[in-house]
């Protein structure tokens, strides 16, 4: 190793991230009744307990519903915005892009509070609609940045070439630009689903008894009961996330997905 300090820090970083996760996974397979490490024996009973526990399953459906809805909305708004930012001759491009990226910077609790006051109290929207709008805003930066990165990589002359060959602007977009953006849109969608699904601050502020996301329900749960059911649920989510990550890596590649955010 040429840089022993950096290498040590990297290993330490991985340990700090991974070890607690391993503890959670291990306790999920416990045969005992409490969240304790090392686990007492081996069983799958807590997985059964997790998937048959109605609050978890109901809020899992809510979370998926919200994640899919918000991701779709964010892409619907974000992709055209990205194209306008990169290709259009709109004045104040930087300002427009900044506006779309601002949810990355403003603390989510502030966004949540603002939405709560304006939309729920002010306009009387229900909390599902408000959450959907909040998560859409949260995901917009990803939609704009990730698709923007693949648009920036695409040669603008390709679309011009299509025009020169006789394609109308719409046809050139549909037959050339959009297919080139597909990997970017796909990675933005994956990233959006995961981000929305894992979100706590917004969901916490905008929850109510009827509509509550899985992370919020789990948070409630640990405050009241201290048993491995929560660890089992967390392990299930972890496994699903790993599957998504593998799909993402196989189809687009992490470097491309995250390159879009840190550009």
């Amino acid at each position: 190793m040429r840089r022993p300090v950096a290498a040590t820090l990297a290993v330490l970083g991985y340990l700090i991230m991974i070890v607690p996760i391993l503890f959670v996974v291990a306790t999920a397979f416990s045969a005992g009744r409490t969240l304790r490490f090392p686990p007492e024996g081996f069983s799958l009973q807590w997985f059964e307990a997790a998937v048959t526990y109605d609050p978890f399953m109901e809020s899992l459906v809510s979370s998926l519903y919200l994640a899919i809805g918000a991701t779709a909305l964010a892409l619907l708004l974000g992709v055209p915005a990205t194209i306008a930012i990169h290709r259009g001759k709109i004045p104040g491009r930087g300002l427009v892009e900044g506006l779309f990226l601002s949810p990355l910077i403003v603390p989510e609790l502030v966004v949540g509070l603002a939405l709560y006051q304006q939309l729920m109290i002010g306009f009387g929207l229900d909390n599902l609609t408000t959450l959907l709008l909040g998560h859409t805003a949260l995901l917009l930066p990803y939609a704009v940045r990730v698709t923007g990165a693949s648009l920036a990589l695409a040669d603008p002359a390709v679309e011009e070439a299509a025009r020169g060959l006789g394609a109308s602007p719409v046809r050139a977009f549909l037959t050339v630009t959009l297919p080139l953006l597909r990997p970017g849109i796909f990675s933005a969608a994956l990233l959006g689903l995961v981000t929305s699904f894992n979100n706590v601050p917004l969901s916490l502020l905008l929850q109510d008894r009827e509509f509550r996301t899985l992370p919020v329900t789990m948070l409630d749960y640990v405050q009241q009961s201290y048993n491995p059911r929560i660890a089992a649920m967390a392990t299930i989510i972890l496994a699903a996330t790993v599957v998504i990550a593998v799909i993402a890596e196989r189809t687009v590649g992490f470097a491309k997905i995250f390159g879009g955010i840190n550009r």
Partner: protein
Amino acid sequence: MTIAAEFVGVTQRFGDFTAVDGIDLEIPEGKLTTLLGPSGCGKTTSLRMLAGYSLPTAGTIKIHGVDSTTLPPEKRGLGMVFQSYALFPHMTVAQNVAYGLKIRKVGQKEIAARVSETLDLVGLGHLSASKPKKLSGGQQQRVALARAIAIRPRLLLLDEPLSNLDARLRVQMRAEIRRIQSETGLTVVLVTHDQDEALEMSDLMVLMKSGRIMQSGSPREVFANPANRFVADFLGYENFFTDKTGIFRTVRPEHLTLGAGDGERLDATVVSTAYRGVDLLVTLEAVDGAGQTVRLVADVRNGAAVEPGTRTTVTADAAHLVTLAAKE
């Protein structure tokens, strides 16, 4: 001579920067016209205005006599080969070439026939099922050419088509493009910064500088009679001096000889020499008719070695001495 396209007082400004400054130019039908000039002189901008990708700030662009200044590119029926080739990466070679034909609603059979005919013309018949990424630079360039030709364009526009190829392939492709042009009878406008390319390929050569046309004419005319110092410089004239009667003149290094002869004579001192096998490049210094110290370069073939510091008379060959209208 039929005119295929015409620029009339065409100007393009980007902010306060004038990229193309009121050019007038007639492009002859069925001929190969080159826009030649250093990087940044406005060649691509001119071509893009002709293709419809950029709207002139002022002036008119006519295609086959019809004012087409504001016509969108898809309505112009021109074929353009971009410097980056701009192939559609998600389509095969054949699909790239068929793209423009599909839009023209040409029948399936006819498309297949024309695609293979065009790919044969550029020598790529065997690669029709490949994706562009798998091809070499030279092959990609031929696909771009085939794609533009397949639509039977009214004009074929080529932006530095050879500049991304390696030196040997570049020279080979000059003849290749010439052959395709004469086989198809297409009107071609080619942009280049390479004077050899322009001299070898053009019927009409248009020299540009800072958004203006400096000179246009056949390669022979322009090469033998550069209108001003810029054109002469660009075409490889290296000796500029004022003669005894006060006229500004130039001569190429191969027409400057050491020793007294028939032509304009100057007393010079050898500064340095460079032996290059086929010739010897001799750099000299002289005081010209205006009393200015000028640097001269003589390209000597079959001559004896000379030592730096030697004083000698040099002669600018009378038959090749060019009088320049403008000092700049």
